[in-house]
Subunit: 157 residues, 2 copies
DNA sequence: CTTAAAGTTGAAGTCGACTTGAAGTCAAGT
DNA sequence: ACTTGACTTCAAGTCGACTTCAACTTTAAG
């Protein structure tokens, strides 16, 4: 096998769209791995690109790096996710997205009714008071939430 | 007029649902105002509750405090927003929410197609590569994004 | 062999929106 | 007058996900 799976940092950065500092950070966080040259430089295997695409996808869906690590650890080693792995995960992600969408729609619709009703005081306003939307707030402090911003798309060629 | 508009910090905190530290922070940031007693303690006017409700609503829609300050400054002084003020603002918020919803839907639908097509590699995946969704990225670094989490509802009585 | 580009580390900085802590002051009831 | 709880300020801390910096070292080309 050719040096095809001996990608340098800059190459992975370019192809994944992540900054090299982010790659180092992800490695420290245990999300990706790399071997080293004699001199101590990182060399990545091709598979890391798929892993990074997965990470970005998960971030887009709203998962934290901690959650992503758990998800990745569930796929033993570098085992390529099986069809059932992917089914399980994508179903979960789909559900998350649905929840986020529903929360936003409820908020938007509440706003629409506010426009109509002229409740300028916002006192009972569904927008400032979306209690029915943000339920499921876990006692411990966890929560149901809407996603952070949409991350940069992969620059992968 | 009775001391009705001489609310103490703890009272505003209780009725607005914001921590008193948050109220102090908002004051420093120029979002709300308070008068002082001889001894230097804050006394709020009733109107601050409406303002806080507005702030929470705006936060729920995804505005930053900076954006909210601009919005508030646009309403000269403590002028109660007129019908047209509110129409303008709520239209803007509605639009923002629609954008966020559309972005999430595109993401979700891309995910659905991924499940069907079995593109486990995620190479061309719409989820890791939602370029068409996150357009409008301003050159300067601004962006189009999805909202942060849904804030706590007002505890206002 | 030289050189420039690319890579290395650890520590510290950034951003937004607050919270926490320490140390001291005010307001109100008895 | 005393006590207690509410309040004050200013500085620093927090969280997540990275980025930036300084000071070196390795690699590859010429």
């Amino acid at each position: 096998m050719k040096p095809t799976d001996q990608l340098t940092v800059s190459e992975v950065a370019r192809r994944s769209g992540y900054a090299s500092s982010a790659l180092r950070y992800y490695e420290r966080e245990g999300l990706i791995a790399a071997s080293r040259t004699g001199g101590g430089q990182r060399r990545y295997q091709r598979g890391v690109l798929r892993r990074l695409a997965f990470i970005r996808a998960a971030r887009n869906v709203g998962l934290s790096l901690d959650e992503i690590r758990v998800e990745l650890d569930q796929l033993p080693e570098s085992r390529t996710p099986t069809k059932s792995d992917w089914l399980r995960i994508s179903h979960d992600w789909h559900r998350r997205l649905d929840e986020q969408i529903e929360a936003l729609q409820a908020l938007r619709d509440g706003l629409a009714s506010c426009i109509g009703c002229g409740c300028l005081s916002l006192r009972q306003c569904a927008i400032s008071n979306p209690a029915d939307v943000a339920v499921d707030r876990v006692p411990g402090g966890g929560a149901v939430f809407l996603p952070p911003l949409l991350r940069q798309p992969t620059a992968q060629d």
